[in-house]
Assembly symmetry: C2
Homo-oligomer: 166 residues x 2
């Protein structure tokens, strides 16, 4: 990996930290640069524009979420059991910041933002697959359908938790 690419990787890691801590709404160039230990000038030296910066940072954030989920040792079980575990997981200190970012992504996607739509869609599909792999249900069609239903429930819980309900 070239030196420039390595620098980009390091920056993206710190930007993901920033997104998780402060959110997309706080992600303007100067704060992002400060979090990455550099300047806005250099951010736009390593990346074409803000959109490319956010795309990279969101992708990195999503990758971390995927990795965190894959590490969980949940084995296939009933829908009710999995639902309870997922609700606890989503609300846990580790994963809740990801859920907050995801909420912001969904809100922007609903307004037509193409980057957020793409990222959000990918994360949702990944989440559904993760659930399906842990649902003890016979037949892939029924399992996928059940996974989608469970995903709806979990997303709804995140939604409601964010406004202090449930």
């Amino acid at each position: 990996m070239s030196k420039a690419a390595a620098k980009r990787e390091q920056i993206l890691d710190r930007l993901a930290d920033f997104l998780l801590a402060e959110g997309l709404g706080a992600a303007s160039l100067r704060p992002l640069a400060a979090a990455a230990g550099t300047s806005d000038r250099m951010l736009l030296y390593y990346f074409k524009d803000k959109d490319e910066i956010l795309a990279g940072a969101l992708e990195r954030t999503a990758a971390r979420l995927t990795a965190a989920l894959e590490m969980s040792e949940i084995t296939p079980r009933s829908r009710a059991q999995l639902e309870a575990e997922m609700l606890a997981l989503a609300g846990s200190p580790v994963l809740w910041p990801y859920m907050c970012v995801w909420l912001e992504v969904a809100a922007l996607a609903a307004r037509g933002d193409p980057l957020c739509r793409a990222v959000g869609h990918r994360v949702a599909l990944g989440f559904q697959a993760w659930i399906a792999a842990r649902l003890a249900i016979d037949g892939p069609v029924a399992r996928d359908a059940a996974a989608l239903g469970l995903l709806r429930t979990v997303e709804g819980a995140i939604f409601l938790r964010s406004v202090g309900l449930g």
Copy 2:
């Protein structure tokens, strides 16, 4: 009602239109003022600051949603039937803009915004009560619990729809 209060009411109605059409993210003073047929100068003449403006506009928006829901002629029925009707309702051209605003509110609430937390909480409780009143389930405790569960599903569906899934 005083003339000033009437003017405020008219402004708030137009601001609610704006929020539904453009979203909270686009709600800076000058665009809001233009949508209300006035100037930022006058907006801050009738209201103390931007926060009071948004609080009023969000309250008006929530009131409209409540009124729209109350107009529905759905009578008590099974959970599965009500779920199907609510999913169609939430995705309908009339109500979807409200859901988009609500998503933005939830995202900001998750980041600690007190106004959005309060508004979002109130809307969620209203929604839950609306569902409970239309669920054919005996016993208020079980009915409220079922309403919360159905609300989760609907919110989750909104979440997923915003990223183009489901």
